[in-house]
Symmetry: C2
Subunit: 336 residues, 2 copies
């Protein structure tokens, strides 16, 4: 499961931060009553003791890390929203040990906020069926290999040496098990709760740019629809969904949108459907006068990207395209 | 649940990092067979699809964030290990929005590694009863108020204004709900799995100092026993357990130990037992010639600390005492 922690990036410029902080947004307290008391042991060699699950529990909160520059060169911060079954770890380091998009966009001069959505990672999760109503979903490596378009489902094998990826695959396939170490369970029925927490985050952060991936891309498209005056731009990388109503309720013009797509979508019926849904969203925005640019990576000469361009071997190239698009919208205030 | 994300710390020196990275250590792949396929919907407005839980799953891994200085002034890094039901978020920012021990020790010149132990936070957790055998434990605010020695159990109330804390409490009681937002579920029977992952971390990081809190303090005391030549010093803050056999198997002398204790232990029978167990460990180490210092905060004039000195109002004062102790063992290589 190790992914080269010893790798260094000494040639790159240092990142000077005035603050590294974390906080929680959203959430509420729920009280439980009438559940049986259990006897459990906790500490090494410690005695068993009563565990009473009844009482107050926080649920619905989201975790956010803020990396705030000593000398930011961008006017608004960048928010990175991960996809389904992921956490903010997705942005930190690629599974094969290279600096991820967190470092890329810090070095580009942005203050960066990395969040763990409700129920994921450090955001914690609540009891079921007492608070959450459904059981969690745990994704297998077999499913991820297929759904993340690393290779065809039948190309997955428990033995790494026997796996077959798509030809020209940019995902670092040798690090697929390391990648799977960062997957977390998720629930299928929590969209409203998660969106409420993202909305609380936007309310708190103020003007910003949102970059969301997969499920987080769908949340980003919905969040900007709700707060069109506050979000300066939205980048949806491989969004798995889009709002049914593309416009803001009061028809306020929406800020610029960028949609980024990897390769091998034609071979995956689920992704064909997801993309058709999102493409229709982009078309509707454009028709209403919103800038809505689609970056189809293979169409632009970057072939072989998986569902995770930020972890693929060419992750810096993809990030550079996003940054180039952003430079027109949120240019550096000074030379960085 | 908000904890003042707008608070800034502009007067403090910037932290210049050459790298912010994360990685996973430990863990193995487990295969599941024979479980029923479910129909679930994932994306916003997306169609339902088959979810097959069978297949390969990673379990037993731990998540680690490394904050590596552009110009470290200490020879070895500092590893921060959180307590039971917590994550690495515990070290980042106090519940009332002040910089936590992560920033304190970065500013003191250390490279710092923050981990989420197995099953906690970004380390993810595995299916039960298929992989984990027991159900998780979710701590209520009621229990935390008591167990963390914020106040007596009967002093807890759902309404914050009706809560009664211990007199002179250093914990920021007004931020108790924000603090509870960072608690994560835990399992009671995973010590061996968690210790294996910590051992993998130590193997990977090399020479270091370990600072562990509560359950993580117990793990730190055991980990240094297993790797006495590698760990330069261990600080156990309010450890909830200690190894039954204090010494290394081959009787290699152990590195210096510091035990840090807060206030109000006399009022809590569970903590009296935990501390008696750990005090015996310190006595055994001293008898064998190991430096084993006990820092009883109220005995040293710092009164009112809870089980979480790193989140208490005087967290910087407590950190300064730890740093003073460390300065003799791992002094700065240059003036920072």
């Amino acid at each position: 499961m190790n992914n080269h922690p010893g790798t260094t990036n000494a040639q790159a410029a240092p990142m000077c931060l005035r603050e590294i902080r974390s906080f929680f947004v959203g959430g509420a307290i729920r009280s439980l009553h009438g559940l049986p008391v259990e006897q459990r042991r906790f500490a090494q060699n410690g005695p068993a003791r009563d565990v009473d699950p009844n009482g107050d529990h926080v649920c619905g909160q989201m975790y956010v890390q803020a990396y705030l520059q000593a000398n930011p060169t961008r006017r608004v911060p960048l928010l990175l929203w991960h996809g389904g079954g992921m956490t903010g770890a997705n942005w930190e380091t690629t599974p094969d040990g290279r600096p991820g998009w967190l470092s890329f966009f810090l070095r580009a001069g942005f203050d960066v906020y990395v969040s763990d959505a409700v129920e994921r990672g450090r955001a914690s999760w609540a009891r079921w069926p007492d608070i959450y109503t459904e059981p969690p979903l745990h994704r297998s490596l077999n499913e991820g290999w297929d759904m993340f378009r690393v290779g065809p489902r039948e190309g997955y094998a428990s033995s790494a040496s026997e796996r077959r990826a798509h030809a020209g695959q940019q995902f670092p396939v040798e690090a697929f098990d390391s990648f799977a170490a960062q997957w977390v369970p998720r629930w299928a029925d929590h969209e409203a709760m998660t969106l409420a927490a993202y909305d609380a985050l936007l309310q708190q952060v103020g003007p910003c740019i949102v970059l969301g991936h997969s499920q987080g891309g769908g949340f980003a498209l919905e969040a900007v629809r709700r707060r069109p005056r506050q979000v300066a731009a939205v980048i949806a990388v491989e969004p798995s969904g889009a709002p049914q109503t593309p416009h803001s309720q009061d028809m306020t013009p929406l800020p610029p949108h960028l949609y980024v797509w990897g390769d091998h979508i034609a071979e995956h019926p689920i992704w064909q459907r997801y993309r058709a849904n999102v493409d229709a969203h982009a078309v509707a925005l454009k028709a209403a006068g919103t800038r809505a640019d689609v970056c189809d990576l293979p169409g632009e000469g970057l072939r072989g990207n998986s569902h995770f361009p930020m972890t693929d071997r060419n992750s810096d190239l993809v990030a550079a395209r996003v940054l180039h698009w952003l430079d027109a919208i949120a240019p550096p205030t000074t030379q960085s």
